[in-house]
């Protein structure tokens, strides 16, 4: 069935400026249903989100059930739950995907444990808003699209702010990644109920779901589910042009609602709340089943891994266990990236756990990442065409290179959200994002570091 027959109306939504068209590389896993993998041991860090780390409340040798609270949240933080049933092996400093090392609770999995009971609250859809919100807070849900900001904080609107539209992000514009695509295909109703629920909580009258047109099958499935569920308000499923960074908040909001978020501002300022599809499902499960955020669905992919797949793993599963489960590494693997190839973060080691915010694992070989040393800017203007914000990364890089990072404000240093479009197209292969990061750091410290700081590749 075509999207047109499915009743998905209107033209392709698009953001107006810049962006790049990327090789998608999604074919390896787009048709692969999500499967579950449970390792022998999980390492659950206490810090998995923006905000203060949680406090451990379990001890060594203690038996814990899947779903049990094992670390309580500090104010503005998020609690942490046991993602598996088993025995606490230790609470200790462990390797961390973003913080190098951080305290974590290590649990040995009991392979014979029965699946824990789950409570279904039949009245979930009519609960008062603050009960819904409390359940989302207690579930430890953070934004699963990347930023990992505690979701209940995003839903607790500041006084006087009115939000009329929930935008659900099903764009998944990073190449290689397909986990959101699979979630939309496999659990369309949960996605929709989650989005509807978010709208209830913040009092929004409209729900729109943006799906890139390379995943039109997901849009068709969602549209069919909209008709079956008859939610009110009924979510609108809208197709977006496949173009990076369609899934960035600013570009998605512009494409779907025509509203422009102010510089360095938030969607709230134009009456919009943006959530990712995986977060919506988690919120639905938290409100209806009071189930905490325990698993992460992620795409394990790239030319460096034996068997690419979409996996559901308990939070705390080590990357090395996933590698073993997925057929091992190609000998030429040179980079392991948590997330996608544009904005993902390189991992220096494989003994780090998957955390709530891990969007995917991408394994690239030497030939995929081979780079020449970067050269001088040749003023080709490719970066200016590509920047979706109309910034001047060329100038920021030139000034920063010359030790004049503090003079780059007018080129948009602070506005840059580091999407990487500019560096992707730069023929001189200048590490433009890194120059911008150096300039931002210079603003923070007020000193023109950057003089003598040469961006480049580090070997872990």
């Amino acid at each position: 069935m075509s999207t047109h027959e499915a009743g998905i109306s209107g033209e392709l939504r698009r953001f107006l400026r810049g962006g790049v068209s990327l090789e998608e590389h999604k074919e390896a896993t787009a048709q692969t249903p999500i499967t579950t993998f449970i390792p022998a041991e999980v390492t659950i860090p206490l810090a998995q989100h923006l905000g203060p780390p949680a406090q451990a409340i379990v001890k060594r040798k203690q038996v814990v059930q899947r779903g049990e609270l094992i670390a309580t949240a500090e104010p503005n933080g998020a609690p942490v739950h046991a993602s598996v049933t088993g025995t606490v092996a230790r609470v200790a400093l462990s390797p961390h995907p973003t913080l190098t090392e951080a305290p974590a609770i290590v649990i040995t999995v009991d392979p014979n444990a029965a699946a824990p009971q789950c409570t279904d609250d039949p009245a979930w859809a009519t609960l008062p808003r603050d009960v819904m919100l409390a359940r989302i807070e207690a579930a430890g849900i953070v934004g699963l699209g990347g930023a990992a900001f505690p979701t209940y904080r995003k839903l607790r609107l500041p006084d006087g702010v009115r939000v009329d539209t929930v935008v659900l992000n099903g764009a998944e514009c990073e190449p290689y990644l397909t986990s959101d695509h699979r979630l939309m295909l496999e659990s369309p109703k949960d996605v929709l109920r989650g989005a509807w629920l978010l709208a209830q909580i913040i009092g929004a009258q409209r729900v729109v779901i943006g799906v890139e047109d390379n995943k039109s099958d997901a849009a068709v499935v969602l549209q069919a589910a909209v008709e079956q569920l008859s939610l009110s308000p009924a979510p609108d499923v809208l197709l977006c042009r496949t173009r990076y960074p369609q899934g960035a908040e600013r570009q998605l909001v512009e494409a779907l609602t025509g509203r422009r978020i102010p510089a360095r501002g938030l969607p709230l300022q134009v009456g919009v709340l943006v959530q990712n599809v995986a977060t919506a499902i988690a919120c639905y499960q938290a409100v209806r089943y009071q189930q905490p955020l325990l698993d992460r669905v992620l795409t394990v992919t790239g030319p460096g891994i034996g068997h690419p797949m979409n996996l559901r793993v308990p939070i705390g599963t080590l990357v090395q266990d996933i590698v073993a489960h997925c057929g091992g590494l190609d000998a030429r693997t040179a980079m392991v990236i948590a997330g996608g190839p544009m904005m993902g973060r390189a991992l220096g080691r494989l003994d780090v756990p998957v955390i709530k915010g891990t969007g995917g694992l991408l394994f690239l070989r030497v030939d995929d990442v081979q780079r020449e040393p970067y050269g001088p800017c040749i003023s080709c203007a490719a970066c200016l065409d590509a920047c979706p914000l109309g910034l001047e990364p060329n100038q920021i890089s030139i000034y920063t290179e010359a030790g004049r990072a503090l003079e780059t404000e007018s080129f948009g240093t602070r506005e840059c959200f580091e999407c990487g479009c500019c560096a992707y197209v730069c023929p001189a292969e200048r590490p433009l994002v890194q120059f911008i990061q150096i300039a931002k750091a210079a603003f923070q410290t007020g000193s023109a570091i950057g003089l003598g700081v040469r961006p480049g590749v580090v070997h872990g």
Binding site: R17, G18, V20, E23, P175, R250, R260, I261, P262, A263, R264, G265, Q269, T333, A334, M335, V336, I337, P341, M342, M343, G344, A346, L347, G348, R349, L350, D351, L362, L364, V369, E372, G375, P376, I378, S379, C380, A381, L384, P388, L389, G390, L391, E392, N394, E415, G420, A423, Y424, V425, P427, A428, E429, P431, V433, G456, V457, V458, H459, G460
Partner: protein, 326 residues
Amino acid sequence: MAETPGLRLAPGPHVHAGQTTRAIMWWVTLSLLPAYLWATYLFGVRVLGLTASGVVGAYLGEWLVNRLRQQRQTLRDGSAVLTGVLLVGTLSPGLPLWMPAIGGFMGIVFAKMLFGGLGYNIFNPALVARAFLMACFPLAMTTTWLAPRPGVWWAADAVTTASPLTVLKLEGVARAAELLGLGPAYYGQLLLGFRAGSIGEVSVVLVALGAAVLLRRRILSVYIPLSVLVGTGLVALASDVPLFHLLTGGLWFGAFYMATDYVTAPLLPRAQIIFGLGIGALTGIIRIWGGYPEGICYAILLWNAVTPALNQWFRPKRVAPEAIGV
């Protein structure tokens, strides 16, 4: 397993579009092949000798400055070779073989390397090289046009002639029309390239073909070259032979290959259109009212000097509105 040795920690993006500086330089160089082979067919293998000479001079200049400054050699980026090749495109085919080498060397050393190398120069090095040769060897530069002798690869007795624009300048419109036989047949020959002229410019069709390849690969955009042609065309309306002006001289070569040099041209389309119109108009003005038969070289160099100002005036427009309160 502890640290996994050899895993790279470069920051994102971890993928690249693949179009590199070096690839761009080589594509531009290669796209000139049809035009230069055509010139070889018309004027003999000395065209290839001149090209080699220009490249060697440019290459040596860059190598020497890097060497003296004890910095990393930059020859791999291909830009020196391109400068040498482009310079020869602006020269008459009858020049002594050693002359492009001098030009290439001086252009690279003074217009590029002393400014800090690729990306830092203000003036197009190939055109500075040409201007330098013009100043040093004015006679050779203006009297060594060869009459086309298709298929004569090796001629000891090359026949010099005047370029069409020189005829126009020296003899005036009426006499030039008589001498050259201005008419559809002649314009057809100009288009295809059976005529005297500089090496890169003789065939408008082949210059356009090379440019089309670059347009397709998105190395070139049309704003500058089209506005150069429009600018010259508009001014040429003031002469009696606008079509003649559009099809002769280095106009097409200059519009597509010289004015478009990234480093010395403005960044944004609006600025590029002004830049192109300015070059085109100035070219026409020099040709019609100035002292030289051809003006594109100086027109481009002059507008190169305006580029930094144009880049200041025309900046990208921010997408996000300025924050108000909240």
